[in-house]
């Protein structure tokens, strides 16, 4: 784990841009589908032709409210759009429509799990805004290419309080937020496509000092791994400067993942003078209580509630419940399997966190891309529950399923993996082992409990893994007592 001099305290706040899952843009009827030919989804409003007017998308408002309710935030039933003025070619109006003084979502919070237990991270606000287009800096005869398909895509910018005290906490918060926006289906969370982007405000101060240190802003760090590394690098850089008697310049820095360093992007002193003012094209948005109630009714069970229910309903440990509710697909998968198999919930949890996730990770697959169907996975666990398979033979069946060699029962049949539960057959092997391992048998009789494991192992080996280990164990004990 990353550590730094304990005399310094790290302060981190995050700004996360989530792309809202609408069909059309926030202020126009253009599609926001990813990957279209350049500028084919950029209407007169999006490219800012003179005389056009923005008209707000109801669904974007609904999704923002849904988020606010999910974090227990105050919803500003009267909220206002403002113009954030700056010049850049991928922002054709010369201003971005955003929210400043009266954002749609006010103060809320999110709980994260840290090594020291549960910690509450404040969420200052979340506001609606439009995305900018894309600048392509590849060489177009010494010019820059502009694609405005993304211009006007609805974003919810979620701003945290400077409540995080380590990169690990910041990542825990980010993961929790990522999981939440997917749970409540307001954002697909796709970091590669830029649907979930993170800027981090990082500063350090001598431990015990009240006043915050000068911060730098790390831009566009778009994977959980890079977020942590970028912050670690930046913290070390700041501490080095301060310990040498220097001072931190407030600036925006970019993380270079290849070189593992951050570098100054540009001095934003001037660029930061955005001269916000209320957008005269958009009167205040007023939300009725009935609308809020309607949105509230669409909220699914939230991760924390689900985690608690998994513990009480299925008797799972906190760790298991946490792992299974980390994202909605995993939780839904677990519940589907649990409902359709005779195996105990704990067995389902173990097989998911063990074989299934290990193989998915190794193959870099999502749960939804698993080569093993839910019904076959449930059936595999059934065969463990009805003692057709032992833990070991079940793993062999799992591998065969993974390689798509057939269905569970076919594989058991083809590979001759059916567990021997016939007392006579096991007894024969047990007798054979007792005869062959007189030394260990004596040790057991002399009171060495542990040797039983070795003897059961021998039975399993001689039966090529097919004997029921529990029956072998019981039979050995009976015969040796």
């Amino acid at each position: 784990m990353f550590t730094w001099d304990k005399r310094w305290e790290v302060v981190i706040g995050l700004e996360v841009h989530t792309q809202l899952q609408t069909k059309s843009k926030i202020f126009s009827g253009s599609s926001i589908a990813y990957g279209a030919e350049p500028n084919t989804q950029a209407s007169a409003v999006d490219i800012a032709l003179p005389g056009v007017l923005p008209v707000m998308n109801l669904e974007a408002a609904r999704l923002a409210v849904k988020f606010g309710l999910a974090i227990g935030a105050h919803i500003n039933k009267r909220n206002v759009f403002a113009r954030k003025n700056y010049f850049y070619p991928d922002l054709p109006k010369g201003y971005q429509i955003s929210q400043m003084e009266l954002p749609i979502v006010g103060l809320g919070s999110l709980e994260i799990e840290t090594d020291d237990g549960i910690k509450t991270i404040g969420i200052t606000r979340a506001h609606l805004e439009e995305d900018a287009g894309k600048s392509l800096h590849e060489d177009f005869h010494g010019q820059t290419g502009i694609d405005l398909n993304r211009a006007g895509t609805p974003l919810l910018e979620i701003v945290s309080e400077p409540d995080m005290r380590s990169p690990a906490e910041a990542v825990a918060y980010l993961r929790k937020l990522h999981s939440l926006v997917r749970y409540i289906e307001i954002c697909d969370g796709n970091m590669q496509e830029g649907s979930f982007r993170c800027d981090a405000n990082v500063s350090v101060r001598p431990r015990g000092q009240e006043e915050l240190g000068t911060r730098t802003e790390l831009k566009n760090i778009n994977s959980f791994r890079f977020v942590e590394r970028a912050m670690e690098y930046e913290i070390e850089r700041q501490i080095d400067i301060l310990e040498d008697g220097g001072s931190i310049t407030q600036e925006t820095r970019l993380y270079d993942s290849d070189k593992h360093e951050t570098r100054s992007m540009r001095s934003k002193e001037e660029a930061h003078d955005y001269r916000y003012f209320p957008d005269p094209d958009l009167p205040p948005m007023v939300l009725e209580d009935s609308f809020l109630d309607e949105v509230r009714a669409t909220l699914p069970e939230l991760p924390t509630a689900k985690k608690e229910r998994f513990q009480s309903e299925f008797g799972l440990s906190l760790d298991d419940a946490q792992m299974l509710t980390a994202d909605r697909e995993t939780a839904d998968f677990f519940e589907t399997i649990t409902k359709s198999t005779k195996a105990e919930s704990k067995v389902v949890a173990n097989w998911m966190s063990g074989e299934l996730f290990a193989n998915l990770n190794k193959s870099e697959l999502e749960l939804s891309e698993s080569p093993i169907s839910t019904s076959q996975f449930a059936l595999l666990l059934d065969r463990i529950a009805d003692k057709t398979l032992s833990g070991n033979t079940a793993k062999k069946v799992f591998s065969a399923l993974w390689e798509k060699e057939g269905e569970v029962d076919e594989i058991i049949e083809a590979k001759g993996l059916k567990q021997i539960t016939d007392t006579g057959a096991i007894e024969a092997v047990v007798d054979e082992v007792i005869a062959a391992c007189s030394e260990q048998v004596q040790q057991f009789k002399d009171g060495n409990e542990k040797v039983i494991g070795f003897l059961v192992g021998q039975v399993m080996q001689k039966s090529r893994g097919k004997a029921n280990p529990q029956m072998a164990n019981e039979m050995l004990r009976k015969k040796l007592s």
Binding site: K23, Q143, I146
Partner: protein, 95 residues
């Protein structure tokens, strides 16, 4: 409220408005007049009055989330100064 020339230049730069050196003092006094008006308004007692963001009492109309725009790229790019491969071309910008 008095402004110095540097502030005038700075405001002009932020707004991307070119000001001829001969116009600076004229622009400065025009801006000072506006700020004077603001100062007068600020002197009014507004206790108990809710801040207003828009002059009308209107509230926003919201539209249903539907794709209603068709691709009109060719028409838009026909009036653009430069376009190539579907992209608008602009003088090189580097962060």
């Amino acid at each position: 409220m008095a402004l110095d020339n540097e502030t005038v230049h700075n405001i002009a730069r932020l707004a991307r408005i070119e000001i001829d050196p001969s116009e600076v003092s004229q622009t400065r006094s025009a801006l000072e007049n506006i700020l004077e008006l603001v100062a007068q308004m600020e002197a009014v007692d507004t206790t108990g009055i809710e801040p207003m963001t828009h002059p009308f009492d209107a509230t926003m109309r919201l539209r249903a989330d539907a794709v209603t725009e068709a691709n009109q790229r060719d028409k838009f790019q026909a009036i653009a100064p430069k376009a190539e491969g579907g992209l608008y071309l602009v003088p090189k910008v580097i962060d």
